[in-house]
């Protein structure tokens, strides 16, 4: 996997673009994400169903992973079972 890869959730409508990553498994709704959608949707894990928000960036604690949500869905994002959190950047004044 490399930056720029688009991943789709197997359990919901979520799609992300990978901005930064390592060798772990990126999941949504508790199941691994892939470049293609499986023919049959996987069930959404109850503890991974907080939803994703369009345009939000999701990171892990070490900032090794960063995903941009390009399509929202009901599942939430995790890497190897550990939930990602939204990256809260201080808003900058518009400069152009």
């Amino acid at each position: 996997m490399k930056p720029g890869t688009r991943l789709k959730s197997a359990a919901c409508d979520t799609e992300v673009m990978v901005i930064r990553c390592a060798d772990g498994t990126i999941e949504c709704g508790g199941v691994p994400m892939g470049e293609a959608k499986p023919a049959e949707a996987a069930p959404l894990a109850a503890d991974h169903s907080n939803g994703t928000l369009m345009g939000k960036r999701y990171v892990d604690a070490d900032n090794t992973y960063e995903l941009l949500c390009v399509k929202p869905g009901k599942g939430s994002l995790s890497v190897d079972g550990v939930a990602l959190v939204t990256k809260d950047a201080k808003p900058l004044p518009a400069s152009d």
């Binding site: 720029g4 369009m54 960036r57 390009v70 900058l92 004044p93 152009d96």
Partner: protein, 499 residues
């Protein structure tokens, strides 16, 4: 990572919202994306290596930018103000290209270069005509070059600066919050399309879902009129535009500008007097000074609205001086000041500005200017104060070296400009037998002011700085040469002073 993602996301989230207003015509995000996909078809069919724009700002700039991105072909907007000969040479460097704009001129000056040429209306019409569903097409993954911009080349042949998809996306994703704008927000874009600020303005506004209002030809009256009629909330201007807007207001032009929440400026040095007046004239507006270069995908440092108001209100000279500062580096870039040997300098010491980050390309078609660690030497000279505010003293090439002592023109100019009779000035190096270089000064007087004694100007510099900074030669001129972006053409002043 393809920059087309910015438009795709906007069209996904707010397809029916007005994205762009130009010459009275309105475009939604969905319509712009459809047209960009149509442009992809045209680009593919023509088998070109570049997409060029030889035109003023219009919807065609957006469609060409993103159409080229989808096709994986660099978008290269050209400066239509260039002389035929220079423009022909640039067109020759990007042949074969799909050129949008002035058909007659391309035919005349580059007819034998193998370009495919469309007028603006033909291009937009054909791009809208028909396009297959997105899933039937394989769009470019965006691993290459998104934009190629020719530098203005005031000293040598124009260089082809390259911005990759990753640079531009790094900038936008790092600085703009997706869909952060209200539906009533509108950004007035008046920078020409061939300038980096003209390109970043389109991408920033589209990603923020902020309506773009285009003004292809700047006049202060036209600008103020659009602010009122489109209820513009955000705008970017170059310093000369701000000067002219204030002049027009001073001379009695009126407009309801109550919607104007934020004005950013950059592209050249903003005179202290102009920004002070602007703050007074627009008391409810937040001002942002943006510092950036083509090679850095636009802004790398900014002075925000709160800093402006704090500086204006302060009695502390150090805080007040920040009105002329470039502000602080973006959190997403690293910035250092280095001396000629590459050593990092502490606060307060002037040297060359180096910058590093995802948005920093520092790359030309011919070669990369980045050092081994990825730092880009901007060739801008400046220093940082103890609180991390960046001050620009000029281009590194403009530094005057008098008997081994480095002097920045900006420092001398700031002092000279405190003289009541002087409206504008430019300090630059003149040849000196004794010192190698010495300080020359071109001075523009205020309207109606009597010419001051040369000794009075020299004394002013000597008292405030030191004797080595005192200009050896002073010329009074009617005006200083600026380019259309408000950049002072120091080389030309140098020539005048060398005579």
């Amino acid at each position: 990572m393809n920059i087309a993602l910015l438009l795709e996301m906007a069209a996904d989230a707010a397809g029916d919202r007005t994205a762009l207003v130009c010459d009275g015509k309105r475009w939604t995000y969905a319509e712009l994306l459809d047209a960009a996909r149509g442009a992809f078809e045209l680009i593919q069919e023509s088998g070109v290596e570049y997409v060029a724009l030889l035109d003023e700002s219009s919807e065609a700039a957006v469609i060409a930018l993103f159409g080229a991105a989808l096709a994986g072909v660099p978008y290269c907007p050209l400066n239509y103000r260039l002389a035929d000969e220079d423009l022909s040479a640039l067109l020759g460097r990007i042949s074969p290209a799909l050129v949008v704009g002035d058909e007659e001129r391309v035919e005349r000056i580059a007819g034998n270069q193998g370009h495919t040429v469309f007028s603006r209306s033909m291009f937009t019409m054909k791009a809208q005509e028909s396009f297959p569903a997105a899933e039937e097409r394989e769009y470019d993954p965006g691993e290459g070059i998104a934009v190629q911009l020719f530098t203005s080349g005031t000293t040598a042949a124009p260089k082809a600066a390259i911005l990759r998809h990753s640079n531009l996306l790094g900038y936008i994703l790092g600085t703009v919050e997706f869909a952060a704008a209200d539906e009533s927000d509108a950004a007035l874009v008046v920078v020409p399309p061939y300038h980096i600020a003209g390109i970043s303005a389109l991408m920033s506004s589209i990603y923020a879902n902020r309506k773009i209002v285009m003004l292809p030809n700047f006049t202060p009256e036209g600008w103020l009129g659009l602010v009122e009629s489109e209820r513009v909330t955000n705008a970017f201007v170059v310093p000369t535009m701000m000067t002219r807007i204030i002049d027009a207001l001073d001379k009695g032009t009126t407009a309801n500008v109550s919607s104007l929440r934020a004005v950013a400026y950059g592209g050249g040095k903003m005179p202290l007097e102009v920004i002070q007046k602007a703050l007074e004239r627009f008391p409810e507006t937040g001002f942002t000074n943006a510092y950036g270069l083509t090679e850095t995908s636009s802004t790398i440092a900014l002075l925000g609205p709160d800093d402006h108001r704090a500086a204006l209100a302060s009695d502390d000279p150090k805080v007040r001086a920040r009105l002329t500062s470039l502000g602080q580096p973006l959190p997403t870039v690293e910035l250092e000041i280095r001396d000629e040997d590459g050593n990092v300098l502490p606060a307060g010491e002037a040297g060359e500005i180096y910058v590093r980050g995802e948005q920093v390309s520092g790359e030309y078609k011919e070669k990369s200017a980045l050092d081994a660690e990825g730092w880009f030497p901007t060739r801008d000279a400046g220093y940082m104060d103890e609180d991390g505010y960046l001050f620009l003293s000029g281009r590194a090439d403009d530094v005057i070296v008098r008997g081994g002592e480095n002097m920045s023109p900006g420092e001398i100019e700031d002092v000279v400009l405190t003289h009541d009779d002087i409206a504008d000035c430019c300090a630059c190096a003149i040849p000196s037998v004794e010192w190698g270089e010495a300080v020359g000064l071109a001075v523009v007087l205020r309207e109606g002011a009597a010419q001051p004694e040369e000794d009075a100007i020299k004394a002013l510099v000597k008292d405030r700085l030191r004797s080595s900074r005192v200009p050896e030669k002073i010329r009074f001129v009617a005006e200083l040469p600026y380019n259309e972006m408000g950049k002072l053409l120091r080389r030309k002043v140098k020539d005048v002073l060398a005579d």
